[in-house]
């Protein structure tokens, strides 16, 4: 049964530049990119965390670094990556439970992930960074 389905001739379109990635696909690739980026930033984040807890002087140093306008923009991007990974991850957990697997539901939930993660990013940015 399964082999028959695989052997069946199906139309293929693998011209990548002409394929428009649907929203759940964009969500998926950002989930992967954000995960990889946060992995690469781990040593820097651990160093920041360590400095913030070592002494009042090093804590002030972290505050100064985090307060730099360029650092704020990078941190806002990091917060968005975290929040996207968080919200998209919850969507994947629900999909694992077969919640929202139909096309329309899956499209709607990916829209919700973008709206909620960007809103949370702006709230945290406003409360903590600015």
């Amino acid at each position: 049964m399964a082999e028959l389905a695989i052997k069946k001739k199906r139309p293929k379109n693998l011209d990548l530049p002409t394929i428009r990635l649907p929203l759940p696909g964009i969500l998926s690739i950002i989930h992967r990119i954000s995960g990889a980026a946060m992995f690469l930033l781990l040593p820097f984040l651990l160093w920041l965390f360590q400095s913030s807890l070592t002494s009042p002087e090093s804590f002030a140093g972290v505050k100064a670094v985090v307060g730099h306008p360029l650092a704020k923009i990078i941190l806002l991007g990091l917060v968005w990556f975290y929040m996207h990974h968080f919200c998209a991850g919850i969507r994947y957990l629900l999909l694992d439970l077969h919640k929202g697997v139909e096309l329309e539901a899956a499209r709607l939930s990916s829209k919700i992930v973008f709206v909620v993660s960007i809103a949370l990013t702006l709230i945290i940015g406003a409360r903590v960074l600015w």
Binding site: G35, L46, L53, S55, P56, I90
Partner: protein, 115 residues
């Protein structure tokens, strides 16, 4: 001819479950962390340090770090499996990933218990 049945052997099931279990730990910790930081409003070194001097937060933060590192291992390993085709290079990338993550875990312990 190798006649091994792949379906039903549960290859990868353990990692699949751990990826999700660690995700739930991190999600819960994120909420706890946001509530605690919101309540304490740590503007000073003493207030910020006090959060992690608390026994529960120290334990929860350690659990969060361990979850991050194990979750990152599974995710980054998946990326190497998807994109790095030469076996030797892929093995090297996996070993390097596991090595830095084990090192980070030791570093995290040091940060939390020597502060």
């Amino acid at each position: 001819m190798v006649n091994r049945i792949l379906v039903g052997a549960h290859y990868g099931l353990k990692d699949w479950i751990i990826q999700r279990a660690t995700a739930i730990v991190m999600a819960v910790y994120t909420l706890i962390f946001l509530v605690v930081v919101g309540a304490v409003g740590p503007d000073t070194f003493e207030a910020w340090r006090g959060i992690f001097a608390n026994g529960f937060m120290k334990f929860a933060t350690f659990l969060f770090f361990v979850s991050v590192f194990y979750h990152a291992w599974i995710g980054i390993r998946d990326i190497w499996m998807d994109y790095v085709k030469p076996d030797g290079l892929r093995l090297l990338m996996m070993i390097a990933t596991a090595a830095v993550l084990v090192g980070y875990a030791g570093w995290a312990v040091q940060i939390l218990w020597r502060m």
